[in-house]
């Protein structure tokens, strides 16, 4: 056996992969949207399996309450104030140095998603909100790329695989996103690590099938699992394809991609925090900002982010101008705070 393949020997012995399948995995490009609970499990599985090129996109930084379920992070990452994508990439490089991992710290939106996914063979959902999922769905249907949805809360989770032109898309199955507070969030209802691992592992298996070309094995149902209540349901959704008058996959209306939905400033559900996305052409100069802000409150920064505490509000500012402001759910208030301390 080729010595570079030796590390994958157990996986290659599996009849569904083989050496040919392994070589396909090594040649594959995957874009993973979100690197939190689902995302870290997905990235860990894919990198160990030798998926050759992994683009890891996440907007957030690591907090202590992430460590219970976000398997690639540790206390040191929290102390270092690292963004999730960067910390994950460092761990993944130590796990499998032959894989090319590309960490990107940004908020996924309609202006950058095409660039992020255009060379991907499959798009994986590790996000925590439907705004981005509908955007992924739009771009996947438009470009004809398969993607795998996953979602978890409490002790239950769901996953489905979307193959444009063959299966129902996300909007066929879920016509709308729950409004904030209507279905609970991980912050209000909590989330158990085992359900995250199960859903993400299922998503990863789907990615393997797509990447090695085992099309007949792809899951074409909505899988619903509850590890506390012992429920395992497989809902037949295939008949929805073509039956639902779907604006996205039937009428090719891409409302999220074409900008009819989505906002520049978003309240982060259940977190008492608001994200202000005010993208700039030039990177912020943290050193200069820190000099200015330290007369007003406590400031710390590294090359990835700047943290600033003032009047009970906690700012995390990224070099592209985006900020997460903790201490309010009020979007207008957050815009005012941004203008006051970060400026336009």
């Amino acid at each position: 056996m080729d010595s570079a393949l030796e590390r994958y020997s157990r996986q290659m012995r599996f009849y569904g992969i083989g050496e040919a399948g392994q070589r396909k995995l090594i040649e594959s490009h995957v874009t993973l949207c979100g690197c939190g609970a689902l995302g870290t499990v997905l990235a860990n599985v894919l990198v160990r399996a030798g998926v050759g090129h992994l683009r890891l996109v996440d907007r957030d930084f690591i907090e202590t309450n992430n460590l219970q379920r976000q398997v690639l992070f540790d206390e040191h990452d929290v102390a270092e104030n690292l963004p999730k994508a960067e910390a994950a990439a460092r761990k993944l490089a130590a796990i499998n140095s032959s894989v090319h991992v590309e960490p990107i710290v940004t908020d996924i939106d309609r202006t950058n998603i095409v660039e992020l996914v255009k060379d991907a063979d499959v798009i994986l959902d590790g996000t925590d909100n439907f705004e981005v999922r509908y955007l992924i769905n739009d771009v996947a249907v438009k470009l004809g790329k398969p993607w795998v949805y996953g979602g978890c809360i409490g002790s239950h989770g769901q996953t489905m695989t979307i193959v444009p032109g063959e299966t129902p898309c996300l909007r066929c199955v879920f016509e709308a996103a729950p409004a904030p507070g209507e279905a609970g969030t991980c912050e209000t209802a909590g989330v158990l690590s085992p359900i995250v691992n199960i859903v993400a592992s299922y998503q990863a298996a789907e990615a393997f099938k797509i990447l090695v070309g085992a099309k007949q094995q792809i899951n074409r149902e909505l899988i619903y699992i509850d590890v506390w209540e012992n429920i395992l349901k497989r809902i037949k959704i295939a008949p929805l394809f073509g039956k639902v008058d779907c604006p996205c996959c039937r009428h090719k209306r891409f409302d999220w991609l074409d900008g009819e939905h989505g906002t520049q400033t978003t309240s982060l559900c259940g977190r008492n925090a608001v994200q202000v996305s005010h993208r700039r052409a030039e990177r912020l100069d943290f050193e200069a900002m820190a000099r200015h802000l330290q007369t007003l409150g406590d400031v710390q920064y590294n090359r990835f982010l700047l943290k600033f505490d003032v009047d009970g509000f906690n700012f995390t500012v990224f070099p592209d101008g985006r900020a997460i402001i903790k201490g309010t759910n009020d979007v207008e208030k957050a815009r005012t705070l941004y203008a006051k301390y970060i400026g336009y």
Binding site: I153, G154, G157, E182, A189, V196, L240, V244
Partner: protein, 90 residues
């Protein structure tokens, strides 16, 4: 025997904490109406102007009612009806 309606966790505050409620009825609509009679507060969590809220799906056993006869889909004793909202977290 009866029709068993599975209540999702965020809605159980309206069913006295019950995960499953047994009702009778000949269609999905009748079964959900019977649920609403037992626990009136749940109706507006499931319906908006008489339509199932768009982020909620209703499944009869392992099928989506939208490709059956929707709310008019016939049900019988022993059927399992699940109210399942989209899951956002991750």
């Amino acid at each position: 025997m009866a029709i068993r309606i599975h209540i999702p966790t965020p809605m159980r505050q309206h069913t006295d904490g019950n995960a499953v409620v047994e009702v009778s009825g000949e269609t999905i609509q009748a079964a959900l109406d019977a649920l609403g009679e037992k626990y009136p507060a749940i109706t507006q969590r499931v319906f908006d102007n008489g339509q199932v809220r768009r982020f909620i799906n209703i499944y009869l056993n392992d099928e989506d009612i939208r490709y059956l006869d929707n709310l008019e889909t016939a049900v019988k004793d022993g059927d399992e009806v699940s109210i399942i909202p989209a899951v956002a977290g991750g």
